[in-house]
């Protein structure tokens, strides 16, 4: 059964979300991955949205993390401080971030491109809640296309903390111990982080993708997992749920 890269990334992401855990998601692919996981793998995965939605029965893909879909028939319609404080308190297991650049320690830039802050080449929206979620949630994930411009150590601005400069750096900076980047799911493979160096490490390569392609599309030197694997493609079941239930209008899976 054929699938596109967005369907692949969402399916892979959904498999990392354990049942009976709590995830804060945004709009788009992360929300789709969480909805897919709820349907197939983690019926009691609890979805939160940063503006206050807790445990909704999502009738459709929200267009904003604060729109009424995010608390439709929810267990609670709370507030921004309530969600952020639940994260800071240590109750939230997963979150997903996006960004324009990511470095080998999983630091993410969603603020600006350029060398002069006061006159950026390109200005992006900024942190929003990303820095907060990356600081507080136990495991941070990212779903992104992979290329050498995006995966670079010449990151123009660290908006949200990954492992900063390596092992122990988060703790030294005052961030809560034990939290940090977990998986980066791209159109080429699945990347994790080496326990010792906290550097990005390839864990699986997607079908039809070569090691060379991944290296060529990464602006820094990658580590390779000793038990490097080939990514399991989306199952028919995953694709069916994605296409019929999660995203019937192809808002997200239609993007690639």
């Amino acid at each position: 059964m054929s699938y596109n890269r967005m369907e692949l990334m969402i399916s892979l992401a959904s498999r990392f979300l354990e049942d009976e855990s709590i995830v804060v998601v945004g709009t788009g692919a992360p929300c789709a991955a969480a909805m897919l996981a709820q349907t197939l793998y983690a019926p009691n995965l609890m979805i939160m949205f940063e503006a206050g939605g807790i445990g909704p029965l999502l009738p459709s893909m929200p267009i904003s993390v604060g729109d009424s879909r995010t608390f439709y028939r929810a267990l609670a319609a709370s507030s921004m401080p309530e969600i952020m404080e639940t994260c800071q308190r240590g109750m939230v297991d997963y979150t997903f971030l996006g960004g324009a650049q990511i470095d080998m320690y999983g630091n993410i830039n969603s603020t600006m491109i350029g060398s002069d802050y006061s006159r950026p080449k390109v200005r992006f929206p900024g942190s929003g809640g990303a820095n907060d979620l990356a600081s507080f949630c136990w495991r941070t994930m990212m779903i992104t296309v992979q290329d050498a411009r995006r995966f670079t150590n010449k990151i123009d601005f660290i908006t949200s903390p990954g492992y900063l400069t390596g092992k122990g750096a988060r703790e030294a900076a005052g961030l809560p111990p034990g939290s940090g980047p977990y998986k980066v799911i791209t159109d080429l493979g699945v990347l994790g982080f080496d326990a010792e160096t906290k550097r990005m490490q390839v864990e699986s390569i997607h079908p039809g993708i070569t090691r060379e392609q991944i290296a060529a599309n990464t602006g820094f030197e990658l580590l390779w997992s000793p038990d490097l694997d080939t990514s399991e493609p989306p199952t028919e079941q995953e694709l069916a749920v994605l296409r019929e239930k999660v995203d019937p209008y192809r808002y997200i899976i239609g993007r690639s």
Partner: protein, 340 residues
Amino acid sequence: MGEPNFALPEAKQVLYQPAGGRRLFSDPDADAAREYFHNKSRKKVDKTTTAAEAVARLVSDGDYLGVGGFGANRIPTAILHEIVRQHKKNLGLAGHTATHDFQILVAGRCVNRCDVAYVIGLEARGLSKRARQAVESGEIEITEWTNAALAWRYKAAAMGVSFIPARCMLGTDTVQYSAAVEMECPFTGKKYLALPALYPDVGVIHVHRADVYGNCQIDGIMVSDFDLARASKRLIITTEQLIPEEMIRRAPDRTAIPYYLVDAVVEVPYGSYPGNMAYMYYSDEEHLQEWLQAEQDPKTLADFIERNIYGVPDFWSYLMLNGGPARLAGLRHQETLLEK
């Protein structure tokens, strides 16, 4: 289980280290705010008025603004349009996920400084070309924060203290372009970030129901409006519907904003349009896309703003101009899932 003992800290010298070199756009001093609140009227009188009168009386050039809701959800659109219509200038803004609200204010060139957590983007809808240009050009001076940081800066002000500790932003460039201070916990010695209280000169919040005195009920998520209402020196409320005080007194635990915080109450049905209003109407995605498209060229944007804001006397005319009752019915049905 034994009974643990937690030693008290010794007296000690610690270092307060400014973590960011950017500008603080508002005064965090709780005593200055107390003086203001001391003199704020507690009169329980009919505060209903028009958007035009409320903005003329309560918003001055140079004021710092806090806008309720969340970007394009439960936003006080009528007041934002009126601020543009009255050509207010040099406003400060809390960019606490400011999306369509920011887009409106920059279209009118009303803002010259912004505490940014999230601006320019409209979430899944894409980016505002005009908003991006306003920030990239330096037209608007920026200090960086995060959504939680701005939410807690409101909370500190609402609590009546000049700062509050947090654990976000640490170790990143975000904090280096903020105005926060690194400190340590007096009990654990661990590193914390001190956030300065944020007291907006004017808060503007759209609610589901309010009485004429300003007692307000909000359905669904509060976002940060509980604290914004309390942090604001002056507070303008727009409401979908005016209700009798009796309805407030029948469910006092539903009162999110008590009257003594409020300076003006404006009844504006569909007041969050083109934004979403929970349980009432969904966002008008077509109109929001029209707006994003108009921004592709300064001329088309000028025409668009002329037609939708300067060219209409009030918010109702703006609603009529964009589909009126038929369109609004569609949005109601979308919100209630009668239509997809």
